[in-house]
Amino acid sequence: MIDNQIIATVIVHLFIAIVQLMFWRKSTAQRFLSVGGSILALILAFKLFFKVYDGEILTMNAANWKAPFGIVFVADLFSSTLVLLTSIAGLAVSIFSCVGVGRQRILYGYFPIFHFLMMGLNGAFLTGDIFNLYVWFEVIIISSFVLMTLGGRKSQLEGAVKYMAMNILASTFFLTGIGILYGISGSLNMADLAMRIPKIQNQALVEITATFFLIGFGIKSAVFPLYFWLPSSYHTPPSAVAATFGGLLTKVGIYALFRVFSLLFIPNHFTKELLVILAVLTVLTGAFGALIKTNIRRLFSYLIVCHIGFMIGGLGLYSKWALLGAIFYLIHDIMVKTNLFLMAGVIRQLRGTMDMNKLGGLYAQYPKISLLFAIVLFSLVGIPPLSGFWPKIYLFKDAFQLEKYAFAGALIIGSFITLYVIAKMWAQVFWKDAPQPEIIEDKFAKMIGYRKTMLLLPVIILASASLYIGFNAEAIIHLADRIATQLLDTSPYINAVLGGQN
Amino acid sequence: MNLMLSFIWVALTGSMYYSNFLFGFLLGFAILWIMNKNEADQRYFYRVPKTVSFILFFLWEMIVANVQVAYDVITPKFFIKPAIVKYPMDAKTDLEINLLSTFISLTPGTLILDVSEDKKTLFIHVMYMKSKEQFVSTLKNNVERRLLELLR
């Protein structure tokens, strides 16, 4: 079925960005455009989501060339869900940015680039062409470079250099992989590749190719021992940016890993073992890092790494439940991690610092905001029945079922350390009295109501989403279940793209 | 200039249709119009044929001079006597100076290093210089005069 609606969100963000570029230096107009456009994108994402919810897979043959000759966009449930989540997170960040991002940055193109980034994310989720995916990845990384350096402070630039070097290296691996893949199969369309790859005689070569993708996407998704860019950089940009990064960037890597390793390269025994081992190490690395960091954003950065391990582990187990768990976790993680960094931004507005040693007294001064944050933090930890809890059960389930006890252990350690550090953070940031109350610069208190709302509303939106995920876990499980089914049985995908012609 | 651009356009596209020429003309006109909006100097170069003939002459000069250098290069011993010479120009306009220097530079053995601030003298690097006076006068009479004749 040909349907332009599939890439509607992409188009919306593209046009918002272009129009905003035309309104260069008109910060108010850009703010309105951004929020309005994000709302529109969200509506479209919902429409798309409900369209594919029943299992139908929509495709759009760009330029009217039937697959595999043109670039095809595919909306299956996995991609539509991620588009939806991205749109929710995007709207939240967009609202937050109106107040949370300084005027100077807005005047120098913050919003257009943010929308380019959103466009890149949506495109990456929707494309059905491996090289096109590369292009989307490049859109994403270049916008993230720019957002990361926007403002040009020293620490930002230092982080950006490392971030950039490693991400470009990742792209190199990815592109090399594409080159090899084309060399062995002669196609770029993922569904077509899925048909061709099993027929390739030299399957060893396929495995080699898969390795390149594994490394490329592994870097993007911050898997051990490829994660270094993340803690080097995520603590440096403005919070709105960090929120987008923290919530969405690594997840594209995860998405790509899931997509590629379910559609193109069905993991063999070695790959599965490898992924599980990497997952365990990733969890531990993230957990250890989180344990010792005192800057809350650095702490969150390591938590991202830690939880990436959960998802990678789910992929490594490669069973229905494990995939379900990993996808559920992905859904939960996008909402929560975005919110965490937004929260860090609010804390910064409240206190002017993100160092736990210097923070304090928030609970006494802002009890309701603190409770709101507590919801976010508990969702992250997975205090049942909040959102982080459910997927872990599935992961445990199959970790035991498949006798991957190391992974089960890592799940326990990872979850526990998350709990521990968040409790520590709660004690330090919210409970403890501020050590030096005299030097606190509380911008928030001085703000007018509308600005306060703009800062808190996104946190509330995302927190509600987390709560929804937690309390209506059944629905999310159904969703993740369908996604996992679609990932495991790729024939509907292939049929939808190739129209049963092969 | 516009005409020249039209010619180049035709040369580029390689088809000598009327319409193509016209398009090239219009395009060239447009480009010049865009460019020259702010420029006082709007003189067009209209002596295309003369230029072409000069270029042919000059190609010949090049071949001749090349042989000399070639010989020096492939034989083990150098016969060079390099020098940097100050050369007073008669050429006045930018175009004249430019063509002169192009010519001098393209001839083996000589190379423009600099034009003085007042645009009256050239500094030329010479490979084979017997004496400064001889070099200057040869250049003046054989090359510069000829060029200026063509241009003026």
Binding site: I2, N4, I7, I11, L14, F15, A17, I18, V19, L21, M22, W24, M60, N61, A62, A63, N64 | M1, L5, I8, W9, L12, T13, Y17, S19, N20, F23, G24, L27, G28, I31, L32, M35, K37, N38, D41, F45, D94, L95, I97, N98, S101, T102, I112, V115, K119
Partner: protein, 139 residues
């Protein structure tokens, strides 16, 4: 840089390069060339001008900020990309006018798309180079 020779040469090279860039742009569908190379050559023309006359003067020559070329180019490309949707085709479908136009040949969305690419490339290259150059002058 203040070199008379360079300046004079640039006066002639600039239009030639621009012409050449348009040439590359228009013929891309049939021969090597296209929006990218065309745009690159065009921007090289201006870069050359900035070397000869200084970036400030080049900016004056162009009159518009090169940055503003970017949204224009993106807009042109994006519109030509989405025009087909109004006719019920998928995004990016090539639409062609029935008749041939002299010189340019067939006119279609692909050409407009290339034109957008052309503008974007010019805008991008000039923004980058001029920003650097002007920044250096400031320092």
């Amino acid at each position: 840089m203040n070199s008379t020779i360079l300046q004079t040469a640039t006066r002639y090279l600039l239009p030639i390069l621009l012409l050449f860039s348009v040439f590359l742009l228009l013929r891309g569908h049939y021969y090597p060339g296209g929006g990218f190379v065309g745009g690159l050559v065009a921007s090289i023309a201006f870069v050359l001008h900035s070397f000869a006359f200084g970036t400030q003067n080049t900016m004056k020559l162009i009159q518009y900020k090169p940055l503003s070329l970017i949204p224009i180019g993106l807009g042109v490309a994006a519109v030509s990309m989405f025009l087909p949707t109004f006719f019920g085709y998928p995004v990016m479908t090539g639409l062609w006018l029935e008749e041939k136009i002299p010189v340019i040949g067939m006119i279609g969305t692909a050409l407009f798309f290339d034109l957008g690419v052309y503008f974007v490339v010019i805008g991008v290259v000039l923004t980058i180079l001029f920003t650097i150059a002007l920044n250096k002058e400031e320092e």
